[in-house]
């Protein structure tokens, strides 16, 4: 066995060898083990990608085909109660585009024991949820006759939440500076800066509703979910940085679906993993199986530069070395002009340029060159032509 491991160390990856060691029952004859190694090596060689294989195109087709299927027969939203998450094709597009603002950000907050068993779960949830003034307002009325805004507070909910009313009013005053706020019996009267401007009051009404009171900013909804006996918080809205500060959060497993946020907070490697997980999650959720290696290739390409770049003209296409390739994909004039100004050189190394020139593309059968043993003068046809003259 030891002998074989040494022999195959350079041929098979460490993990495969470890798998063999772990799975071969003890007492197997060495001849049998040798056969196992040979067979596995053969399979491994067969599974390797050949030189010149167009892995990119194959990945694109392997992801693209099921994606078109997905537009037809799936739902594009899914989630628990109030927390709705974009899934399906819109979500895949969102991830691959490398969007900075995703349509429905969501976190899955895992908790440490004993909170994961459900201790104080609702209290924790309300601690995380961003609470705005809206929660404490019974009614907002616009008094047209003397153009004031009357905000009636719900004193019961204020008390229930254990919030100081004085503090609440101070918060309100702070966020709408310049407006006179007067209080009388839970009714706050707000006067506009300009006398008689109803439109201003309408806008103000919306601002007042969204005044931040407490909780973690951006957490619009926090819903406790029981997952195989473990209590997990699913949120709508995401703020990893603040959530990780809480002592009852299991930072090992807590995650968000916002790739950009992960990149900023945990770095590019985590972001790459997030891209893979998020895409796989969408496809698995629809019961579509795609080989993870296609996604790996995409994720690697996206994170190659050190930042997550989208697969579009602002992202990885911008990084292509060939002018003609860039010009063939959206906004050609921009690329051609800048290439002309800087005197760019196109080495015709990839597919599209060679298609344009009607040359064999350097992949598959077009990749290998001919190596001969004889002496070959690269300028022979020039020499011949000169002689002709």
């Amino acid at each position: 066995m030891e002998q074989l491991i040494k022999e195959y160390a350079d041929l098979l990856p460490q993990s495969v060898i470890q798998d063999i060691v772990d799975n071969v029952p003890s007492g197997t004859s060495s001849a049998k083990i040798k056969k196992i190694f040979e067979k596995i090596n053969e399979e491994y060689r067969f599974a390797l990608v050949d030189p010149g294989q167009s892995v990119g195109v194959i990945s694109a087709e392997s992801i693209g085909e099921p994606s078109t299927q997905m537009t037809l027969d799936t739902f594009h939203f899914a989630g628990v109660s109030e927390v709705n998450v974009t899934t399906g094709l819109p979500r895949v597009i969102e991830i691959l585009d490398g969007r900075k603002n995703i349509s429905t950000s969501s976190m899955e907050i895992f908790l440490v024991s004993p909170y994961s068993e459900g201790k104080d779960i609702t209290k924790i949830a309300s601690q995380i949820r961003e609470t705005t003034l809206k929660t404490f307002i019974k009614e907002i009325d616009i008094n047209i006759s003397n153009t004031t805004l009357q905000v009636t507070l719900n004193s019961k909910s204020v008390e229930d939440a254990g919030v100081n009313k004085k503090k609440l009013i101070k918060l309100l005053e702070k966020s709408i500076k310049g407006y006179g706020v007067t209080e009388a019996d839970d009714i706050l009267t707000i006067k506009p800066t300009k006398e008689g401007d109803i439109n201003e009051l309408y806008k103000l009404k919306e601002i007042i509703k969204d005044v931040y009171v407490h909780g973690i900013k951006g957490m619009k909804q926090v819903v406790p979910v029981n997952r195989d006996g473990e209590h997990v918080l699913v949120t709508s809205g995401s703020n990893m940085k603040e959530v990780f500060k809480l002592e009852f959060v299991d930072t090992q497993r807590t995650t968000t679906n916002d790739v950009f946020e992960i990149e900023n907070f945990l770095g590019i490697e985590a972001a790459r993993a997030a891209v893979i997980n998020e895409i796989m999650k969408v496809f698995e959720g629809q019961g579509i199986s795609i080989d993870v290696r296609h996604i790996l290739l995409v994720a690697d390409t996206m994170s190659m530069s050190g930042h997550v770049l989208g697969i579009n003209r602002y992202g990885i296409v911008k990084e292509k070395p060939s002018v003609l390739a860039r010009a063939s994909f959206e906004t050609p004039i921009k690329h051609l002009i800048s290439a002309a100004i800087t005197g760019e050189r196109d080495y015709l190394n990839s597919v599209i340029e060679n298609v344009m020139l009607n040359q064999p593309v350097p992949s598959g059968t077009g990749l290998p060159g001919l190596v001969t043993g004889g002496i070959m003068n690269p300028d022979h046809h020039h020499a011949a032509k000169k002689a002709k003259k």
């Binding site: 010149g52 294989q53 167009s54 195109v57 194959i58 694109a60 087709e61 009614e139 009325d141 047209i144 309408y202 051609l336 002309a340 050189r345 597919v351 298609v355 344009m356 020139l357 009607n358 040359q359 064999p360 593309v361 350097p362 992949s363 598959g364 059968t365 077009g366 990749l367 060159g369 001919l370 070959m376 690269p378 300028d379 046809h381 020039h382 032509k385 000169k386």
Partner: protein, 601 residues
């Protein structure tokens, strides 16, 4: 607390009691004191009241219900029949009112009068009213899946039929006319309302739902050769050819007439053989590709000073209307008139009989469209114990996934109707009862489920399964292979790009597009890919030092570079003509696309 009121989504004030305000508006409208197209919506979520008066909203009529009773009574109906009152009277009396999409949200509409409860606010005028005219033409449509119903009505619009009674004197663009159109046995009330018997567009044919040697898989249908010979779904295709005597500047004129032999672009005598003295073809001439239908000459495009002294005829060019690639037909009608500018206008209508053939498209009224895949000789068509041979064999695989139960019911209804000598009412939601139809079928001596024992036409053996067979209304659709068949090996190319032309009329090629290209790349078939894109391949002399196209002087067989002259090193390089064009375009933009040459090997 007060309610905000918005008029056309603009805040306009407050009322004390929102509900009372809404009720007031509605009652005023019913009393004909407000226009009938004012709608009001009480949003239960926000409590706001929205009054709509703007134009462009879709509204639909509903019968007003009061205390669980329809305000439309028997008396009204009798008066309507006697023509004593009209629809607009009902609207004026507040018996019928029009709701828009928002006010509909507040309404609770009953489908049938028998369903009415005190909570109901409205009653449908007729349950068929929830669909449009075309969709209402689908019999048993309420048994179909919604999406199919919609598709079924779309298919019907493409059906060829008796489109106009004066077709023989009309000069329409591309029209089809069905021979012997029939009224469907299974019809709906909308067939009566639309006077479908005056312009039917299909035929009642015998349909057997069975497979036949696998030829009808994937939505294909099989026709009986005997039925086709007897004129099943036969049609005529009409196409006009139009020529005008245009006026040009300088008093020059087009001239309709057989061109003289010295005209520029003269075809051949044979091509003009059908033209009479006036240069126009005679009726009933059978023409083929290349034949001239209307002879015409035009003045020369550019006149130079010399030409003006010449005889005008010598430099005229040929501009006749001739039959395009792959076209043929018989001249049906020749029509001479003048257009709005007073120019002579000649219209020739060509006619072509179209016998159903492989590749033609047919459909039932339930979005069960299919293409003819085989026309079976009548002797081989399966037959029933009574000797009935189906005209169409339809595959049962089209039914389960599409859930068009109406298709099956129509067949059952058709069978009952044909045997009972009556029309079957298949109107949505008020269709004839399936059970009753089955019983009736039983009384005619057939199996109540509509199936019959059938025999193999070739061997005479009895099929081991019972076959669902009966008459159905089938439509021939205007998509016919005759207008679409196309192939090309070599052919014309475009002047600018030297790539093959596009489209059937221009005998064009089929583009191998970007995604198709990707499949070649994915297979690594690099050299095959190059070959496929060789259609605009050119060999270009390139000056090695300057890196731009050189010139080949064919007369002296010498190359020279525009930069370095005759002593430059010049190599012949193969590239696509499209790339040569973009290089030229760069040069015209003062961008220097310098090619660096090196040996590929």
């Amino acid at each position: 607390m007060a309610t905000d009121v918005f008029i056309n989504y603009k805040f306009s004030g407050k009322v004390k009691d929102g509900q009372a305000f809404v009720e007031r508006i509605i009652s005023e409208r019913r009393m004909n004191r407000l226009p009938r197209d004012v709608n009001v919506f009480h949003d239960p979520r926000t409590g706001n009241v929205y009054v709509e008066t703007s134009r462009g909203r879709a509204v639909r009529p509903l019968v007003v219900v009061k205390e669980g009773k329809s305000t439309l009574t028997k008396r009204h109906a009798e008066q309507l029949i006697k023509n004593e009152i009209s629809w607009s009277d009902l609207v004026k009396q507040g018996i019928v009112e029009y709701l828009d999409s928002s006010e509909e949200e507040n309404a609770y509409v009953a489908f049938f009068e028998k369903d009415l409860t005190p909570e109901h606010t409205h009653l449908e005028v007729s349950p068929v009213d929830i669909v449009g005219v075309a969709t209402g033409l689908v019999p048993f449509g309420n048994h179909n899946q919604g999406a199919r119903l919609l598709q079924g009505s779309k298919n019907q619009k493409q059906g060829i039929g008796f489109y106009a009674a004066n077709f023989s004197v009309r000069m329409d663009m591309d029209t089809n006319l069905l021979h012997y159109p029939q009224v469907p046995i299974v019809s709906t009330i909308l067939h009566d309302l639309a006077q479908y018997d005056k312009h039917p567009s299909g035929q009642n044919v015998m349909v057997a739902i069975m497979s036949f040697q696998g030829f009808n898989m994937e939505d294909a249908i099989i026709l009986n050769q005997g039925s086709v010979d007897r004129g099943l779904a036969r049609s005529h295709y009409f196409k006009p050819m139009i020529a005008e005597e245009l006026r040009y500047s300088g008093g020059l004129l087009d001239e309709i007439g057989t061109p003289d032999k010295d005209v520029k672009g003269y075809k051949s005598e044979r091509d003009y053989r059908f033209l009479e003295d006036d240069g126009i073809i005679f009726p009933e001439a059978t023409v083929h590709e290349g034949d001239v239908v209307i002879g015409k000459t035009s003045p020369p495009r550019f006149l130079n000073s010399m030409d003006e002294y010449n005889l005008a005829t010598s430099s005229r060019r040929e501009s006749s209307m001739s039959m395009a690639h792959g076209q043929e037909g018989t001249v049906d009608m020749v029509y001479l008139t003048e257009n709005a500018e007073g120019n002579k206008l000649i219209q020739v209508r060509l006619r072509e009989q179209r016998i159903p053939e492989m590749g033609d498209k047919f459909t039932s009224r339930h979005a069960q469209k299919g293409v003819v895949s085989l026309i079976v000789p009548e002797v081989d068509v399966p037959f029933t114990s009574t000797g009935i041979k189906p005209d169409i064999i339809f595959s049962p695989h089209g039914i389960p996934s599409r859930m068009t139960v109406g298709h099956l019911l129509e067949l059952l209804g058709g069978k009952v109707g044909a045997l009972g000598g009556r029309y079957i009412d298949g109107t949505l939601f008020q269709e004839e009862n399936e059970k009753d139809m089955r019983q009736e079928l039983l009384s005619y001596g057939f199996k109540e489920n509509g199936t019959e024992t059938m025999y193999n036409g070739t061997t005479g053996e009895e099929y081991k399964v019972q076959i669902y067979v009966g008459p159905m209304y089938y439509l021939r659709l205007k998509h016919q292979v005759r207008n679409k068949v196309h192939s090309r090996a070599r052919g014309p190319i475009q002047l600018l790009t030297r790539q093959p032309t596009e489209g059937r009329l221009k005998e064009g090629g089929l583009r191998l597009g970007e995604m198709e290209k990707d499949t070649f790349v994915a297979h690594g078939a690099s050299l095959l890919l190059k070959e496929r894109f060789d259609s605009d391949r050119t060999i270009l002399p390139i000056s090695e030092e300057a890196g731009i196209t050189a010139v080949h002087d064919t007369r002296r067989d010498k190359y020279f570079c525009p930069v370095n002259g005759e002593n430059a090193d010049i190599s012949n390089i193969e590239m696509s003509y499209a790339f040569k064009l973009i290089l030229d375009e760069f040069k015209s933009l003062c961008i220097y696309p310098k090619l660096e040459l090196k040996s590929k090997y």
